[in-house]
Each structure stands twice: as C-alpha cells, then as structure tokens.
C-alpha cells in the first residue's frame, strides 16, 4: 500500500496545526531565552541602566549649565553628538534592509536574524533620535522644529536639511516600530499561550487576539509584504537625507554629490556589523546555534565585504574628486584629513572600514566566528570614526585659515556617548527577556519548507 502523497509543504504549513516535535523544540529553545535571568544578565542590565542614569544626569547638567560643557570650539559646532547620531541612524539600517529588502528578494537566510535586526533598528532609531535634541543649544525649545500651528504664526524652514531630518527620522521610527510589531504578533501569541502571571496579561494584550487562523495568516503576510514595500525606499532615503545634512552645505569635505549612496552603503555596512557584534554573543550564550547558523554569519560577512568595497570606493572617490576639482580649500581639507591633526581618526576609519573587512574574501575567515566578531567590532569602531572624520575633520579646516579649529570631546560628550551604547543595550537586554529573539513563526515556516524539500528529495 502506498501512502497518499503529502500535500505541498507551504499549503501544509498553512492548513495544518503543527504539533511536530521540531516545532515544539523551536518554541522551547527560543522561548527559553526569555526565561529566568541569570546573575550575569542582571549584572549587565544593572551596569547599562546605571550608565544610562549617569548619562541622563550629565545631560541635565549640560542643559542647565549650557552646551559649553561639551567640547565645542569655534568653528567646530558639530561634534560627538552628531557623529553618534549618524552612527546610530546607520546601525538602524540593517534591520529594515534584512526585514524588508531581503524579504522581498525572498532571501530565506534572513529569517533567523530578522527579529533581532528589526529590534536593533527600533532601538538604534530610538537612540539616534535623541542626539539631535541633545546637541541643541536650547533643547527645551526642540518642538519648534516641528511644523505645528501656533499663535505666533511661526513656521519652520522647509529648505533646511535639518528639517528634512526631522521627517526622515520620525517616519523611519514609525515604520520600523510598526514593522517590528507586526512581525512579532504571531510569536507573542505563542508566548501568551505559554506564559503565566503578568506576562500572560502583557502578551494577551500585545498579541491582539492572534489565533493563527488562515485568515489571520493571510492578512499578516499581506501586511508584511506591504510594509516591506513601504520600508524599502526608506532604507535608501533615510540615510540619504541624513547625508544631505552635510552634502547640501558648502563646507569643503561635505559638499559632495557622492554623499547619499556613500552614506547608505556605510549605513548598511555598519548595520550588519552591529547585528553580528550583538548576535554572536547572544547565540553563544543562549545556545541558538541550531537557528542562527554559521551560514547566516557567513552571508552577513559577505554583505559586509560588499559594502566595505563600496565604502572604500567612496573614500577613494572623495579624495580623487578633491584633487581633481582643483579647488584649493577642498584639496587642503582632504590632505589635512589624512595627514593633519585628525590623521589618527582618518586612518582608523580607512583601515577598519576598507582594509580589515577584506579578510572576508576568504571562506575560512567568514566561517571563523571569532574573526567575524572581531571584524564586526572593528567595523563599528571604524564607522563611528568615519562620521567623526567627516564632521569634525571638515569643520575644523574650512575656508578661513584664521579660524581653523581643534576639537576634543569633553567628558560630558563621552559620558553621553557611553550612555547611548548603554541605552541601546538596555533596550536590547529587556527585549531578550520580553520577546522571542528569533521569529519563531518564520523559523518554523522555514523548517517546514526545508522538510518538505527534504521529503521531496527522497522521492
């Protein structure tokens, strides 16, 4: 007797409840991350929370005493805050790229990392969004940047790239949060079904009454598809707009048409690096090797290699154009970038972003997790310095040599910089304990898929 042929896997995934052992293992493994926190976790959380507290206190001090407590000196009026802003906006790009663009391209390997990448996006935007406010001379007037009707008939200047920023960042924040949440709903239902106590209440509310019905899955999938479509242009636009903060000025070293693609590539570059930097330890600590495999890390390394080449090419182009333009202030600015007083920053940037990632040409490097981790950390450092070089380096060597400046960050800025990493980590640590770190439903879908393929192969 021949058994009837199994229905196609995708259909099966949709029509049948899946009590198969593999599924419950995935549920168990992934939800285990959300279990009782270890001493190490609590200690780490305490550390980051106190760092955030310290930074918050510093910020209050800065607001009260004045921005003079930061290292600003004429004419360098943008420093660590804007550098860190651009840095975190860049980090925020990996999430959307992985969730939206790779979704649309049906790159299956994304499923294991998209949840954490999306979470990082949300947290990175939440971090980045603080900095334009922190850097304001009068932060208590920040709402004047918003075009709202008011008695004084004051309006904002739509010509200003800073205003474009306001819209770009707020749009991006909104879309990322929605995207993150929509993807989370089916998993929240799983969590709800297993949780007790306050968690049960929380997940019940957040799961929006998800039952896993066909109709709901259908709506869910369509929503994700549409959101992907909406988010895709944002990946390109947000960092383009951020780059126009610089490119639309007349500052030598900023005023360049290459800036938008250059910044977008850099953003994706740093975003992937940050995903690796965070997920390698998470995978190790929580034993998620079964879901996040070396294959995923290798693919991300490939992405880093690709974007590193683009970024390296952009560096070369900048220098070439500065030389080729024949404009003396432009030439001098770039010469001084590489050989002036900011040479250390510049060479950190070039080596970390353009040279070190070249090891990923070798499969052994791509699959050797310690190497991948070290390179990803270096890329993060390099990308922070890239923004430092562009912003501080350019501002310090402008048109008037009488007022060339020198900028050194103060302890206030460094505290708030540290606070930004703590702030991001704090959210991520809470996220680990509150939400499934891997999209369970998508992993399951993938597993079913693979099983079906495996079955099909046996035929």
């Amino acid at each position: 007797m021949t058994p009837p042929p199994p229905p196609p896997a995708s259909v099966a995934a949709m029509i049948r409840p899946m009590p198969a052992p593999a599924d419950s293992r995935a549920n168990r493994d992934i939800l285990a991350v959300m279990g009782r926190p270890t001493i190490g976790y609590v200690a780490l959380l305490a550390l980051v929370v106190s760092t955030v507290g310290w930074a918050l206190g510093t910020f209050v001090y800065q607001t009260y005493v004045g921005l003079g407590v930061a290292g600003y000196s004429h004419p360098i009026f943008w420093g660590v805050y804007i550098v860190t802003f651009v840095f975190w906006v860049g980090i925020a790009h990996a999430g959307t790229l992985i969730s939206a663009i790779l979704y649309l391209f049906r790159a299956k390997w994304r499923n294991a990392i998209n949840r954490s990448a999306e979470a990082m996006t949300v947290f990175a935007v939440a971090t980045a969004g603080l900095f334009p406010l922190i850097h304001l001379g009068r932060v208590f007037k920040f709402y004047w940047l918003l075009p709202y009707p008011n008695q004084r008939a004051l309006w904002v200047n739509f010509k200003s790239p800073l205003l474009w920023d306001v819209f770009a960042i707020s749009t991006y924040a909104t879309i990322s949060i929605v995207f993150f949440y929509v993807g989370l709903v089916p998993d929240l239902a799983i969590a709800r079904d297993r949780a007790t106590g306050w968690r049960k209440v929380l997940y019940s509310i957040l799961a929006l009454g998800w039952q896993g019905t066909t109709k709901q899955w259908k709506a869910h999938n369509r929503t994700v598809l549409h959101l992907s479509g909406l988010a895709t242009p944002l990946v390109l636009s947000v960092h383009s707009v951020v780059s126009w903060d610089f490119a639309s000025s007349i500052v030598p070293g900023w005023h360049a048409t290459i800036f938008a693609p250059y910044f977008v590539a850099g953003a994706i570059f740093s975003g992937f690096a940050m995903v690796l930097t965070v997920m390698i330890p998470v995978r190790r600590i929580y034993g998620l090797e079964r879901y996040i495999t070396d294959y995923h890390f290798e693919n991300m390394s490939r992405f880093i290699l690709l974007t590193s080449l683009i970024v390296g090419y952009a560096y070369a182009t900048e220098y070439f154009v500065a030389w080729y333009s024949g404009v003396e202030p432009e030439r001098t600015a770039f010469w001084l970038r590489a050989f002036g007083s900011y040479w250390i920053s510049t060479w950190i940037m070039i080596s970390c972003n353009a040279f070190f990632p070249q090891v990923f040409w070798f499969k052994r490097a791509r699959t050797h997790i310690p190497t991948v981790f070290v390179v990803s950390v270096l890329v993060n450092i390099g990308m922070w310095f890239e923004r430092y070089v562009i912003i501080v380096g350019s501002l310090s060597r402008e048109y008037n040599p009488a007022v060339w400046g020198q900028y050194t960050p103060s302890w206030v800025e460094l505290s708030i910089l540290a606070g930004s990493f703590a702030w991001f980590s704090m959210f991520f640590l809470i996220f680990l304990k509150l939400f499934p770190v891997i999209a369970i439903n998508e992993v399951k879908e993938l597993e079913i898929h693979e099983r079906a393929h495996a079955n099909g192969g046996a035929h």
Binding site: G68, G137, S160, N400
Partner: protein, 1012 residues
C-alpha cells in the same frame, strides 16, 4: 523735550516684558519703575551725550559720552575735537569699564592693626590725613600721574599751603628723551608735534606711533590721509619703519628696516648723511650738519646698526627726493641709555629734510612751574624714601609698584614710608599696600581739564553721579587742608574743585566749552627754529646694555595694555595683540633661528635672565623679529585686579603673565629719563610647556584671497587683475576670466533685488589700505553690542565671542599642502606685505547660513541685513558650520549671569539684547542704530540720510577705513568707496555669497628702488 509717544511706550513695555521673560521662572521679576520726578534732560530711550576728555593716555582725545537714563554706556570720539575728530582708540573705548569696574573701592578705607582694610568715614579719614600731613610736614610727598593743568596748579598750591615736600610726576611712557633732545637741538624744552597728513615719506625710527603714542589716533588718521590712494593716485605717502621687530606700526609700513635696537640714532645720522650726499637740505642746514655727519658714513654705521649700507643710502636718497619727508623719534621700547642723543639725531635729520616748521612743529615750552613727568625725580623720591626722609607718601593716578623696576628699590623704599595714602579709584598693586585709601572718582564721574598740546584745551565733566562713596582728588586735598586749621585753610580757596575749574576757564564761555568739550584753536604756525650752537655735539653711539646675555631684551609696547594700566579692563585683555594674536597672556617673541637654536616651539617656556632678575615666559617664534632680540610685552604680570591678575584661575594674588619691568635695570638715559632698553638677557629652555592663547590659527591665507593687495604699479595701470599686477599669477587670471567678475563686484544689483520697495540696502566698504589693526573697532563692537568677554580659559578653547575680529595675513600665503608653517614665516626685512582684514558678518545677499536654519531664526531682511532672531534660535549651529567667513558665535553659557560682574552690567547697551544661553549671535550691522535712525527719519517724514547712521566699528575707526551706508543710494559714500575699479573685491567671491561688504585691497607700495 520730545514726548514719549505710543510707539516708544510700547517699546519700553516690550523691553520690560522681554527682560522679565528672559529672566525665566526662577529669577525675580524686575519692574520698570517710572521716575517720580523726571529729570528734564532725560527722556527714557533717548541717549544723552556729554563731551569729555579721555584720560587713558596723554594724547587727550575728546569724548562724547553716550548716556542712557543717566548711565554712561559708551564712549565715542568727539567729532569736533581736533585731536581725534570723532574716532577713539581701543583703550578709549574700553575706558568705560573703569567706572563700573568690580575692583573699585566702595569708599574710604584704612588699614587696621591687623593689617586688614576696613571702611572709614570720609570725615574721619580726612581728619586722620590732616593729622598725618601736619606731623610729616615737609616729609609729605605726592607721587602722581600728570594731572590736568587746573588740578596741577591747585595741587601745587595745596602742597605749599600745607608745607609738604613736593610732588613728582610719574608717567612710565613719558617721552622725556625727546623733550630733552628738543631742548638740546632747538633750545625749547617741549615735545615736538608731528603732523603726517601732508607728508610723502615717513621715516619711523621704532616710534610705535600707531600703538602707543604720542597720539595714536591722530597719527593714524594723518597717515591714512597722507597715504590715501583715492585722493592722489601715485602720490601716496610711504612709511618706512625701522626697528628690531615687525611691530604693529611696522606691519603697516611699506618697508621694514630691521635695525639693532638702540641704534636708531646712528641710523638716523647715516640716513641724514646719505640724504646730504644726495643733495637734501637748505644750504644752512647742510652747512650746520656737514661736520657732524662726516662721522656717520653709511658704510661705517652699517655694522653697528645691522642695516647694510646700500639700504641706508637708498633711504637717504629717497628722503632727499621726497617733497615732505618726516622722521619720527624712537619710541619707548628702544629708549636706551643714549636715548636723548638718538632722539636728537632724528630731530637733526628732520632739520636737514626741512620738516621742522612744517611737519614737525616745536611748540613753546610750557609755562614755568608746570611739573612734567620726570624719571629722575621719581628715582630721587625713591632714594628719599629709602633714607626715611619721606614720612607720608600720597599716591594718585599712578601705580609705581607695578611700573617701576624692582631694581629701583621702590618696593623696599615703600616699606620705609610710615604712612602711604592712595587715591586710586580701583585696587592696584600700590593701593594694596597703602595705609589709607581715599578713592577718587573715575574720569567719567569727574570734573577736570586737559591741555594735551598748544591750542587744545579740553574739559572733563561728570556724566554720572559717583557710583561709590568717592571724592574728587583735589577736593579731598582741599578738605584735608581745611581740616588742618584756619591758618592752612586761609591759603586755600573756598568751594570745590568744580568752582576752581570754572574760574580757571573764566576766559572762555563756560557753557559752550562744556558742551563742545573744550576750546580748540586752529593750529598756530610754528616757525622753523634754528639749531642751538651745541646741537651737533651729540654722543650718538650704540646703546649700553647691562649683562652679558646673548639676546637684547626688548620690552615690547602694547597698544592695548599701554604701560599696564589697560590690564584690568577685560576688553583689552580679551582682544588679541594685533601682531601675535595672543590674548590674556604674556609671551616672548623670538626669531625662528633663535627658536631653532634653543630647540623650542610655540609655548615652550623660556627662562629669561637679566642682571636685574629672571622670568619665565612661553616662547612665540615668528619671522618678524631680529635674531639677536627677545621681545617681551609690557603690561601683564599684575598681582591685583580681577582681570589683571590670575583671579580667573582662583589665584587672585598670582600674576597673570609676566611683568617684564621686573627684570629691567633701573637705567636712565643721559638726561635722567627712563631707559627701557637696558639689558641683555640669557635665555634658556625650561622644559615646561604652556598653551599660548593664539586667537588666529594661521597667518597664512593659502592664496584664498581673504586679504588682498595690489601693487602700486597695478593701481597706476588701473588693472587689478593683470596676472603680474597683484601677484595672484595664473590662478587670478583664471578666476577672473569667467566673466562674472563685474557682476559679482556690484555691491548692489537692482535686477536681483528681492525687496525693490525697500529704500535701503545696507552695506559696507572696508579699505584695507587704511586699516592699521589698532583694534578700536573690535572694542567698540564689544561695548556697543554687549558682547561677552570670556577670559583666558575660554579663549584657549577658541570660544571668543567677538563679532568683529581683525585677521592678520602675511602676504598672499602659500600652498604648502598640509604642512604646518611657522607663524609669520614670511615676515622678513624689506618690503612689508601684511594685510589686516576686519572680519565680520558679510551680510551676504545669498547667505549660506540662511537656508540651513530649520526654524528661520536667521533670515534676510528687506533692507539687506542678515537678521538673527535670538529668541527663535534653538541652537542647531548649522548656520555657523555653513558660514565660510566663520563670523558666527555661539553662546555656550549664560553669559549674562557672570560676565558683567558687579556694576559692570550697568554699562550694557539697553538697545541690544543680552543673548541667552545656547543661541547663535553675530554682527548685526548695529541694527539698533539703524532702527533709531529710521525712527527719527520716520518722525520727520523722510528717509535716512547718508552718514546719518553708522556702525560702532566705523565710528571708532581712527583711519576711517570702514564706510557704512545705503547701497541703493548711488551718491552715498559707501557706494563711492565700493566702486574702486582696481581695489574692490568680495572675500571668497567664488562661493557666490554676494556679500554686502566690499573690501578695498591694500596697496603694496614696495621698497624704494634706485632710480634707473
């Protein structure tokens, strides 16, 4: 009296509401309280001006003191005063701060048993002093600065009446050597007056006449007039500056002759000899001098002066050829032991060149009995103090403990005086050691007069009721005399000093004189005087210097701090030195060769040792100083004073910088005058490092054409842009070849006017050929616009707040890639090419700062101003990032809280907002003045006339380098000035910012060439 109209009322209401709002929730609400009985002459909101006289230096410039609601808020030059004609130098502008200074004594004080100062009533203090004078009798001596003629007369009478020993006038920078030399050469013991306005060659023998005197404002104006290229193209005067360093004056010269310090007399005679050989002088003069000049052949003198014979011959020939050449005698820093002979040599050169009686006028000696500053008498007094002959020392308007060398033994001598009385209005080193302090009014609270020179009688009148419990010096003396008993009182006049002053001016119409600032007669023709028989018997030789060090210690005079009296005025500290651009600090200028030999760079602390002492000061290597000279500026090193001492770093008793006077020997010249150039120094590296607060990062403009210059030849050819003409070479031709030049050079283009209905477009023309970098405009801007002074720490962080700064560029600059060039590397003897560029908001027609502001806090007004709304600013600072001129400032802190301590806040201009924390600020083209003029014009139903409104900087400028006005008025002076086909340019015009400021390139006159 004008009524207060509705608009004005609303303005005041708005101002008070704004002040209350700015104060925020945490601060008490201030109320605007109306006058119960309104003084007749005061209308709230309308300034009242009083004529007075500046007391910051002996030049005696006329003031118009601007007062608002009874408070002086700004000092402006008196336009009808013959000395300064409406301009005022940096020191004069800063003098407003003396009245409101936090260091002022609140009232009389005496030192108690414990050595602490404690308040005492005036009656008690005067009784005490009367007793002391009675006891001391002829042991009573007065040491003071030079008082006005009336005060001086009554002080002398008082001294006689009370039977005091006498008085000594101590003016550290008094030109005693010149006076003595004039006496020796022309038989008249007076100081010659130099008039540069009609000269075509000025030979400046290290006189520093643009910095310290004898009359810097007047001479700056005259030099500018003589050099004016617009008036007579090609017939512009040249200035040749002799001196050991490229000082501010030399930076403005056409040629710098780097001579050994102290050898100016030798050089003057050698130049005279060369001029004689070239046929200069009247037959009588030639005959009189031939014998003397025989010994001063250029070849012989060359070795002693360090100037090669060819240069001397060239200068002599140029002097012989010139129509009206004049030579200026050596100034303070090169006054050596043979200063009288040096000055006499220069006077003889003037005699030979026929300048005496024309550009050099010898006024008659002042009437007998008028005491003049005398260093010899000062030293004699110190000797008397040492031998305990002085029982009671009265010190007024002088700070001898600071300004006399330690080697004179004044400090020790002061210890021996049992009772010292100081009349200082604010604390200084000497008053800090006094037993009794009877504070005088400040000049703005005082009556007084001045006779800076023949034909000029100038008045001082109070412009504010004394802010503290102070008394006029002469009144205090009279009261002391009266308290000494009826016998003494009978010898003294009744009434106050004000009555005495009025009596002294009885020959004039008092009210007219008071309103006009004094009585000014036209310059009387001074005859050409014959030489005295002994005139040519001169001991002109090299200076005698103490010590065996390798370097000559040159005490450098500062146009800002003067003899040190400026050090406690915060603006004079904050504004950088015009040459080195260092603020708040002391430095030692050495040549790059010296620096190389010592192995030091900028900021390495040097130990400078002379026989008289040792000091440690950071090195400032530069091109423009001789290899055998180390220059340390005079003026810093005070141990008393909120701004003068190191109080900023919590050490109010420690000096800020170093006082170079402390290491100078107490040397005198042949006639007993003070010799400043008297020591050689050993210089060593200490190994320590101090950050030097250099405000201007680089003086190399990298061919970016921020400060441009054209050669005289190009000017004559009328072609600024010929490649060879201005030294820009290929690059210039290329840039100008694009056909945009003329469009860009238009300061106003009707076709591109976005507000054609507005009657005004404000603009400015700045003539770099006139700018001497005297800093008058900078300080005027600080005072007019309530610009905060930030101090040394913040200056080191490049956080100066000046809206207007002077940039000093050495030549076109060069493109050495990123290589860091040493400061002033291109400064070398010969043709001088230093450009001084006043840099302020250019009020660009296409301003890069405007589109980037997200909240429209900076915008363009219909009158062409680049407006800045402080209240709207959120502080993104993008505007500054995008400003290519870098003239925007950011208020990092709430400066209103701490930067006008004590009563200093009373001098704030009520028409200008004190900016809050966290906003951008910048030059407004003095929009408050425009608003006031517009208000007047509107009331009179007309538009603002040309010249009716000007900015504080333009108003202060001694050389009239800045012209402000309406670019839409074709006949306005600013349009006339901007339309120079050769010299006008816009800074960084290639960025298409369309500035409202047109610069006029400096004219490079070059060295005199031998005639073909």
């Amino acid at each position: 009296m004008p009524e207060i109209d509705r608009r004005e009322f609303l303005k005041l209401v708005g101002a008070s509401a704004g002040a209350a709002a700015a104060a925020g929730c945490s601060e008490p609400v201030e109320k605007l309280i109306p006058y119960v009985i309104q003084p007749e002459e005061i209308t709230p909101g309308i300034p009242v001006y009083y004529a007075s006289t500046c007391q910051e230096c002996p030049a005696g410039c006329g003031l118009l003191v601007k007062t608002r609601e009874g408070r002086p808020i700004k000092l402006e030059g008196n336009p009808s005063h013959p000395i300064n004609r409406g301009s005022l130098c940096a020191r004069g502008q800063a003098a407003i701060g003396r009245t409101y200074h936090p260091d002022r004594y609140p009232g009389p004080q005496r030192r108690n048993q414990a050595g602490q100062l404690e308040p005492v009533s005036w009656d008690e203090a005067i009784r005490l002093l009367a007793r002391k004078v009675q006891e001391a009798g002829p042991g009573t001596w007065l040491l003071s600065g030079e008082p006005g003629p009336t005060a001086g007369r009554w002080i002398d009478r008082w001294l006689t009446a009370v039977g005091a020993g006498g008085r000594v006038v101590h003016e550290p920078f008094a030109p005693e050597a010149v006076r003595e030399a004039t006496s020796a050469v022309f038989g008249v013991a007076s100081e010659p007056l130099f008039d540069l306005s009609d000269t075509d060659l000025v030979l400046d023998f290290a006189s520093d006449f643009l910095e310290i005197g004898p009359s810097p404002v007047e001479h700056g104006r005259q030099l500018a007039a003589a050099r004016d290229v617009a008036a007579a193209r090609g017939r512009t005067a040249r200035l040749v500056s002799v001196g050991p360093r490229l000082s501010m004056t030399a930076s403005n010269a056409d040629e710098w002759v780097s001579a050994r310090p102290g050898s100016e007399g030798l050089l003057a005679l050698a130049v005279a000899r060369a001029a004689l050989d070239a046929g200069a002088g009247s037959p009588e003069a030639r005959q009189a001098l031939a014998g003397l000049l025989e010994h001063f052949a250029p070849e012989r003198v060359a070795g002693q002066t360090g100037v090669d014979a060819a240069t001397i011959v060239r200068l002599g020939r140029a002097a012989a050829r010139a129509r009206h050449a004049v030579a200026l005698p050596p100034g303070v820093s090169v006054t050596a032991r043979r200063a009288k002979a040096s000055a006499a040599a220069v006077l003889l050169l003037n005699h030979l060149l026929g300048a005496v009686g024309r550009s050099v006028r010898i006024p008659p000696a002042p009437a007998e009995g008028r005491r003049r500053p005398s260093y010899r008498e000062t030293l004699a007094l110190v000797d008397a103090m040492k031998s305990s002959k002085v029982k009671l020392l009265l010190v007024a308007d002088a700070n001898p403990l600071y300004s006399l060398p330690v080697a004179s033994g004044f400090a020790a001598a002061l210890e021996k005086v049992p009772f010292v009385v100081s009349f200082a209005s604010a604390a200084d080193e000497t008053s800090a050691r006094a037993h009794l302090i009877l504070p005088d009014h400040t000049p703005l609270e005082s009556w007084g007069d001045a006779a800076p020179r023949l034909g000029v009688r100038s008045l001082l009148q109070p412009t504010v009721r004394p802010l503290h419990d102070t008394r006029a010096f002469v009144d205090t003396l009279l009261d002391v005399g009266r308290a000494m008993g009826s016998e003494v009182a009978a010898k003294l006049p009744p009434g106050s000093f004000r009555n005495l002053l009025e009596e002294a001016w009885a020959d004039t119409d008092w009210r007219t004189a008071l309103a006009g600032g004094g009585v000014f007669e036209g310059a009387s023709p001074a005859p050409s005087l014959p030489l005295t028989p002994g005139a040519t018997r001169l001991e002109v030789a090299e200076p005698l210097l103490e010590g065996d060090g390798e370097w000559v210690l040159l005490p450098v005079t500062s146009g800002l701090l003067y003899d040190g009296r400026g050090a406690n005025l915060p603006w004079l500290q904050e504004v950088p030195d015009p040459v080195t651009k260092v603020a708040w600090q002391s430095w030692a200028e050495i040549s790059h060769a010296t620096a190389g030999r010592l192995g030091v760079e900028l900021g390495d602390v040097l130990a400078v040792e002379t026989p008289a002492g040792r000091l440690e000061v950071p090195a400032f290597p530069r091109g423009g100083i001789r290899d055998d000279v180390i220059g340390v500026p005079i003026g810093q090193g005070h141990t008393v004073g909120r701004y003068a001492s190191d109080a900023e770093h919590g050490r109010p008793d420690a000096p800020r910088g170093v006082n170079v006077i402390q290491v100078l020997p107490a040397a005198t010249d042949e006639a007993g005058g003070r010799a400043w150039l008297a020591a050689r120094a050993r210089v060593q590296k200490t190994g320590r490092f101090q950050r030097v607060a250099v405000v201007q990062t680089s003086q190399n403009q990298r061919k970016r054409r921020l400060g441009e210059a054209v050669s005289l030849a190009a000017l004559a050819a009328g072609d600024a842009h010929a490649p060879a003409a201005n030294g820009h070479g290929e690059a210039a031709a290329e840039t100008h070849g694009d056909g945009h030049e003329h469009e860009l050079l238009k300061p106003y283009d009707a076709a591109k006017d976005s507000a054609p209905d507005s009657p005004y477009r404000w603009g400015m023309a700045i003539d770099l050929d006139r700018c001497t970098s005297c800093n008058a405009c900078v300080v005027a801007c600080y005072v007019e616009n309530n610009v905060p002074v930030v101090g040394e720490t913040r200056t080191l962080q490049a956080r100066q707040m000046s809206w207007l700064r002077l940039e000093r560029w050495v030549g076109d600059g060069d493109l050495e890639g990123g290589r860091k060039l040493p400061i002033g590397a291109k400064e070398a003897p010969g043709a001088v090419d230093v450009r001084h560029t006043p840099q302020l908001c250019q009020h660009c027609g296409a301003a890069p700062c405007e589109p980037v502001c997200p909240v429209l806090a900076t915008y363009h007004t219909p009158e062409g101003l680049n407006g800045m709304i402080y209240n709207r600013c959120v502080g993104t600072r993008y505007c500054s990032n995008n400003c290519p001129y870098k003239v925007r400032r950011f208020s990092y802190f709430d400066y209103s809280r701490e930067n006008w301590p004590g009563l200093l806040s009373l001098m704030l201009n009520p028409d200008v907002t004190v900016r809050g924390q966290g906003v951008m600020e910048k030059c407004t083209f003095c929009v408050q003045r425009i608003a006031a003029a517009r208000h007047t014009a509107t009331l009179e139903g007309r538009t603002i006339r040309d010249g009716e409104v000007t900015t504080a900087c333009a108003q202060a400028c001694p050389t009239q380098a800045i012209t402000f006005g309406n670019l839409k008025d074709e006949k306005s002076r600013v349009v006339q000035a901007s339309h120079d086909p050769v010299r006008s340019y816009h800074a960084l015009h290639e960025l298409n910012t369309r500035p409202a400021i047109t610069y006029l390139a400096k004219v490079k006159r070059g060295v005199f060439e031998e005639e073909a």
